[in-house]
């Protein structure tokens, strides 16, 4: 499916992901905008390697939820001069075959202005936002502005999230529920906690909204484990680690291919 097949009036990130997940697990790679000069080609390569959607990280000076790798990627991108406006205008010049989802910290959105940010996201090919430091209690204004532009704001759920709160997350999220696999910061790990599966099951028991697991997925094996009860996985730090190590675009994308193959073998294409 191509994003350009839908118009802004009819597109639905949730609908798109639901449809795609009917035949296999979703794979959503993350790329920090401006982490190097060819970051747009990196996105293309990830899509060619089998990504269903792309998370685009807009770098922030104080990424409190991020582990060392994404922190470093953010510093590199900021040092190279990346800004929210530049990120969105560079994205707007390209056509990608899949939905993009902007991930950043809320201050950049607040400062940009809700209305203008939502409008510019549409022009940039973004279908949703992930703002980890904007929990649902204070997200109302942004969600209203975003929805007016058919931008879906994704909420997070954590292993410690209470049943009562999880109901609210599931009811108020847009696109999917971001299942935080572990109590910690972002970063690839050797194993994925059972907590991811337990939490994904809790989400699925409440709703048919897609549940996608992130934090700590580093390779095909951890992706397959994490995706057991979920609709898909997000891979971020492991990719950015390769980028920071200076790996070629092909080498970075090969990790996406490996995970794609792993997921398809385990759960069907």
């Amino acid at each position: 499916m191509s994003a350009s097949m839908t118009t802004s009036n009819t597109r639905s990130l949730r609908g798109y992901l639901t449809e795609r997940s009917a035949s296999g697990r979703l794979l959503m790679p993350y790329v920090t905008a401006g982490v190097r000069g060819d970051w747009l080609e990196l996105i293309d390569a990830c899509i060619d390697a089998g990504a269903d959607a792309i998370e685009v990280g807009i770098p922030f000076s104080d990424p409190a939820i991020d582990g060392e790798t994404i922190q470093q990627a953010s510093v590199v991108a900021l040092d190279a001069g990346m800004t929210p406006a530049q990120c969105l205008s560079e994205l707007a010049k390209r056509e990608f075959g899949v939905p993009l989802i902007a991930m950043t910290h809320y201050n950049l959105v607040y400062r940009y202005g809700h209305e203008r940010f939502a409008a510019d996201l549409v022009g940039a090919g973004c279908w949703g936002t992930i703002l980890p430091d904007l929990p649902l209690d204070v997200a109302g204004d942004w969600i209203t502005a975003a929805n007016e532009h058919d931008i879906e704001n994704v909420l997070l759920a954590a292993p410690v999230t209470s049943d009562e709160r999880l109901v609210e997350v599931v009811e108020n999220t847009g696109g999917f529920v971001y299942v935080v696999s572990t109590m910690g910061t972002t970063g690839g790990r050797d194993t994925v906690d059972d907590a991811a599966t337990v939490l994904a099951r809790r989400v699925k028991a409440l709703s048919d909204v897609p549940a996608i697991v992130g934090f700590g997925i580093s390779n095909a094996e951890t992706a397959v484990t994490a995706a057991e009860a979920a609709d898909g996985v997000i891979i971020a730090s492991a990719l950015m680690r390769r980028v920071l190590n200076g790996d070629s675009t092909d080498d970075v994308a090969s990790l996406v291919s490996e995970i794609r193959v792993g997921l398809d073998e385990a759960y069907g294409a």
């Binding site: 922030f60 000076s61 104080d62 990424p63 409190a64 939820i65 582990g67 922190q71 510093v75 900021l78 800004t83 929210p84 406006a85 910290h105 809320y106 201050n107 950049l108 607040y110 400062r111 940009y112 980890p132 430091d133 904007l134 929990p135 209690d137 204070v138 909420l155 997070l156 759920a157 954590a158 292993p159 410690v160 999230t161 209470s162 709160r165 997350v169 935080v180 572990t182 109590m183 910690g184 910061t185």
Partner: protein, 395 residues
């Protein structure tokens, strides 16, 4: 003479249910920390409503912390400046600053919650030392995050914390100062939230911290108000305190917030002045004024004082600035160094560089303050800064 713990003042009351003071504050943290914040809010609310908790806290403040701290009339410097100068002597507390008030409150609360471990961030090291002290007293393990730059500037406090049995971990990201130590501590808290209490050191961070930390420091203002009345028979014209995150100022201001005749003054470092400027930012779990660039990246503060080397301030201060109940002014490092030396020479009191900001503002504003009674919070003693000042003065 032990002071009772008074009810919170009307003008500095509890924030709303979501933790907002006016438009500032809130709880802007990732979902993994939400439950911990809610648990803490409930625990604090219940504890503070429990007379036995408040009594235990007060007994600790008095019997261990050395309260009440006196208010000292500074006749020499006062005469020189042409005003009546009174110092609230938080520098005489155990561990040498006001920080012990908050830390004893939080450690007591953490124990009540069944936590066995404390983590904290520190800038100058005063809050780290205080937390390490409380952990030693209560038999809890403790890790303190400190910017790598600050660890060099405040090597003595690093050794003090280690002596007290605390592990000090360097924060290596960003400017490697207080802002980054906060980031590191918040990251660590997420992964250790089960048995660990994050003992935040200022009136900042996500709800309930700004409210809770201020409440634990209200004893400063409560004591000072009565002491000034006892000394002078009337209220002071001004209550002045330095502001980084703003905990000592919040504690002092709380004592006078409902006295409209008392001007509340916060002295910020010129390299970290944030109050009332531009649009607020959302960082470190709160909406408040921060130094930031035009797109919203947070800037690095630059101050001679590690304890005030923070680009923002607590949300209640932002509210007090916006509503104009309190006024905030900045002073330069040079003015602070002059105040540091002048107070030492004229009164025999070596102030912390942080507290010297408040004195520096009074010196700067002396003409406008002629004949008035000025209460300054001497938030900490200067022993930790003597070596740094010596190096600067000998350059």
């Amino acid at each position: 003479m032990a002071m009772p713990i008074a009810a919170s003042p009307k003008n500095m009351g509890a924030p709303n249910d979501l933790g907002f003071f006016g438009e500032f504050g809130g709880r802007y943290v990732g979902e993994p920390l939400i439950e911990a914040c809610l648990e803490l809010e409930t625990a604090f609310t219940n504890a503070w409503a429990d007379p036995s908790f408040r009594q235990e806290f007060l007994d600790l403040l008095n019997g261990y912390g050395g309260r009440p701290s006196p208010t000292t009339e500074c006749a020499n410097l006062g005469e020189m400046l042409g005003l009546r100068l009174l110092l609230k002597r938080e520098d005489l507390n155990h561990t040498g600053s006001h920080k012990i008030n908050n830390v004893l409150g939080q450690a007591l609360l953490a124990k009540r919650m069944g936590k066995t471990r404390l983590i904290a961030e520190t800038g100058a090291g005063q809050h780290g030392v205080a937390t390490a002290t409380a952990a030693a007293l209560m038999g809890m393990t403790c890790t303190v995050y400190m910017g790598e730059v600050d660890m060099e500037r405040q090597a003595l406090n690093v050794f003090r914390m280690r002596l007290l049995g605390t592990e000090v971990r360097p924060a290596m990201s960003g400017s490697r100062t207080l802002k980054d130590a906060v980031n590191e501590a918040m990251r660590a808290w997420v992964s250790e939230v089960g048995d660990t209490h994050y003992c935040l050191g200022s009136v900042m961070g996500p709800h309930p911290y700004p409210w809770m930390v201020r409440t634990f420091h209200e004893i400063i203002g409560t004591e000072a108000r009565q002491q000034v009345l006892d000394l002078t028979g009337e209220l002071p014209d001004l209550a002045v305190a330095c502001v980084g995150g703003g905990s000592n100022a919040a504690g002092l201001f709380a004592g006078f917030a409902d006295d409209p005749s008392v001007r509340l003054i916060g002295a910020e470092p010129a390299g970290g002045a944030a109050a009332g400027r531009g649009v607020p930012a959302i960082v470190h779990g709160m909406k408040s004024y921060f130094m930031q660039d035009e797109v919203g990246q947070i800037l690095e503060a630059e101050s001679i004082s590690a304890g005030l080397d923070y680009p923002g301030l607590g949300p209640e201060h932002s509210h007090l600035a916006k509503t104009q109940r309190a006024e905030y002014y900045s002073v330069t490092d040079e003015e602070v160094l002059e105040a540091f030396q002048l107070l030492s020479r004229t009164e025999g009191i070596i102030p912390a560089l942080e507290s010297a900001h408040a004195i520096a503002w009074v010196m700067k504003a002396k003409d406008e303050l002629a004949g008035q009674t000025v209460l300054v919070n001497m938030s900490g003693r200067g022993d930790k800064d003597v070596q740094q000042v010596q190096e600067i003065l000998e350059q």
